[in-house]
Symmetry: C2
Subunit: 247 residues, 2 copies
DNA sequence: CGTTTCGTTGAAGAGTGTCAAGGCCAGTGG
DNA sequence: CCACTGGCCTTGACACTCTTCAACGAAACG
């Protein structure tokens, strides 16, 4: 995909049916006929520069967003001002589902690199889904998948130690990159150590130390934000390892 | 509501339109005409004795469940055999949303006291929602609310210390009991200290110590599973307090 | 090129976990 | 009615992981 071309297309008609993410994104499992109708929902794209905000907690909810390219984080701010990252989002993922519950967003979502999203007006999505049962079914699956994902994060935060959390995080990223056709062994972290730490319930120093330790054990190679997974099996082994101690 | 009567009704026709939870549960915001149609979806009830399982991870997903009375927990088992509680469910709440994503459940859900649920066959729900837009909209809101709730748990697990977590937990229970017409200051914990700890990412000893400490500070009174909130403001103050340290 | 943000590493300390002992309570059977 | 049992809870002492604080170096940016 040509990035320069994407820039120009921003003002053109958007078409899911031509999108290379259609197997991953909203229209998954739709017939081509149904796909044509989805094209009528997703009308516009929106660009967000690195550091800019897609929506903020409290903003009125009127659209979902499908990430077309780029990388975002969602964050919550607690009563005491502490920022918690609740998720990282990459191409093909749907963002903004939290807003459905009360017609306003409940988290901030910020681009970690220059990003482009497809805007999916929610009212129109509701209208169309009445006559597009497959789309409706799929949307529910997307939401359910988000619930399951968060269960996984709860497991991670509630019962793993620092290095287990980081190993799980790296393997999860690896898998998501692979599903998008990128290398599963070599990728760039778009977020800072502090953001990883926030997501994993750790301090940035702990993240840094754990990464160094992994590198020392030849599980990974790290150069700043660039990560190469050297021994995926070794990382995976870390996840089950605490069984020995706790049993 | 008469519990003995509920027992007998189990074999009778179930009707949302007569249910005292209808303002809290699936049919929220539906007209009485629409409500009559929902009655055709929710056909049966199911009783689960304390300790029995409603569904297990891996079970085929074919129904959602609305809790009519009782109390349940959902748990995940990690690779190393560690059990993590992902949620507690009480009357009026919808359980099983995780199963939609892959047509099979991803967690175990167990009754913590004798419990009764309304069975909502998912296929039928899908059929009906095609012609009941209000129901569809509401179901999406329920799912979105679950996503938002889990964001809150991530915040709790990721950035709070033991006593803050417990304070947040008690205040959350208090609020949910109040919404159901029970006392917000006095209630019975249906789960063990270990289950609270699992949910909050703490060990049972830590939970016990924190409860004792709260009691000593006259924030609450504890007698086994019976809890009375003496100073709700004091508990709430605990939540924001770490700002002083972390900033 | 200076400034700022980000990352690494060390040392010390706080907060929880771990282990262990004992108490309370409900249910069971003598 | 009482002793016994097992599950649940409390409390103390100690160990350990992670955080905190601090200093420094490297990369990114205007």
């Amino acid at each position: 995909m040509d990035r320069a071309a994407a820039v120009n297309m921003a003002h053109l008609r958007v078409a899911c049916s031509n999108c290379n993410l259609r197997e991953l994104c909203l229209p998954i499992g739709l017939s081509s006929e149904e796909l044509d109708r989805v094209d009528q929902i997703v009308a516009t794209r929106r660009k967000i520069r690195r550091g800019e905000v897609l929506f903020r907690a409290g903003d009125r909810f009127d659209s979902l967003y499908a990430v077309r390219l780029g990388f975002l984080k969602s964050t919550l701010v607690s009563a005491d001002g502490h920022e918690q990252v609740t998720g990282f989002h990459m191409a093909g993922e749907i963002v903004g589902l939290d807003g459905i519950s009360a017609d306003s967003h409940t988290c901030d979502t910020t681009a970690l690199e220059d990003t482009e999203v497809c805007v999916i007006p929610y009212e129109r999505l509701e209208e169309f889904s009445a006559t597009l049962p497959a789309l409706q079914t799929h949307l529910r699956k997307v939401m359910s998948r988000e619930i399951v994902r968060e269960h996984g994060v709860m497991l991670l935060l509630g019962s793993m130690r620092a290095e287990e959390r980081l190993a799980a995080f790296l393997l999860n990223l690896s898998q998501r990159f692979e599903a998008r056709g990128y290398s599963r062994t070599e990728f760039v972290l778009r977020m800072t150590r502090a953001e990883i730490g926030s997501y994993l319930g750790l301090k940035l120093e702990t993240v840094s130390r754990a990464l160094s330790h992994f590198a020392q054990e030849s599980l990974i190679a790290v150069d700043q934000k660039h990560v190469r997974i050297v021994n995926a099996e070794g990382l995976r082994a870390l996840l089950g390892s605490s069984a020995l101690k706790s049993q």
